[in-house]
Amino acid sequence: MIDWILFYIGLALTLLGGVMDLIASIGFFRFKDFYMRLHAATIGAIGGGFYPLIGLALIALSLDLDIYIKAYISGVCVIAAALIALTAPAGSHILARATHRSGEVVPKVVVDRIKEDMDKGDGEQ
């Protein structure tokens, strides 16, 4: 009983993650600007990476395989999910910061307060 519940929760999480991954990949094309694509990258990292890994860990726990294989697969899935939840937001944060400061992509905005502060000298740490 409990293993069927685990299996269906895991399957639902994985399917949800797959759909979110597709949505994020379409969003990479639909959004026009680098700073807008950061939103799609968030969906792709957390929705398309974290959820399916937790779901696959639950699925692996519920299968009738050897206990060694089940524990290995779900352990690796949970560690990878934790790593993704830590690294993906930090990575896109530092990338967006460096991109804005170096002028690699100039944002198309009306008011840019960060740039005004940087020109005054307050933006530096």
Binding site: F7, T14, D21, S25, G44, S62, V76, T87
Partner: protein
């Protein structure tokens, strides 16, 4: 215990979803205008590939393929930091 054959019926659907997402991400990587766009798309592509690795491991019922997943998840952070450090000290226009 859930029989493995139940999962075997669902695996092609999961493979299809994530492979389609992989193809669209890689088209974004190939056609992007700036480096920042490309690195952002590589991040999302790599996270997609991690799940494909886990699915391949489940397909072969072999956990040994999965050990490569953890360095893959850590290297995307390094690629981000290296590219951003290069950009932030690169020649400004």
């Amino acid at each position: 215990m859930v029989s493995y054959s139940v999962l075997e019926g669902v695996l092609p659907l999961l493979f299809g979803l994530f492979t389609l997402a992989m193809i669209i991400y890689s088209l974004r990587v190939f056609t992007s205008k700036s480096v920042s766009d490309m690195v952002l798309a590589v991040d999302a592509l790599t996270i997609d590939l991690i799940i494909i690795f886990v699915l391949i491991g489940l397909y072969y019922k072999s956990p040994y393929l999965l050990i490569g997943v953890i360095p893959l998840a850590a290297w995307i952070l390094i690629l981000d930091i290296v590219v951003s450090r290069y950009l932030s000290k690169g020649d400004r226009k």
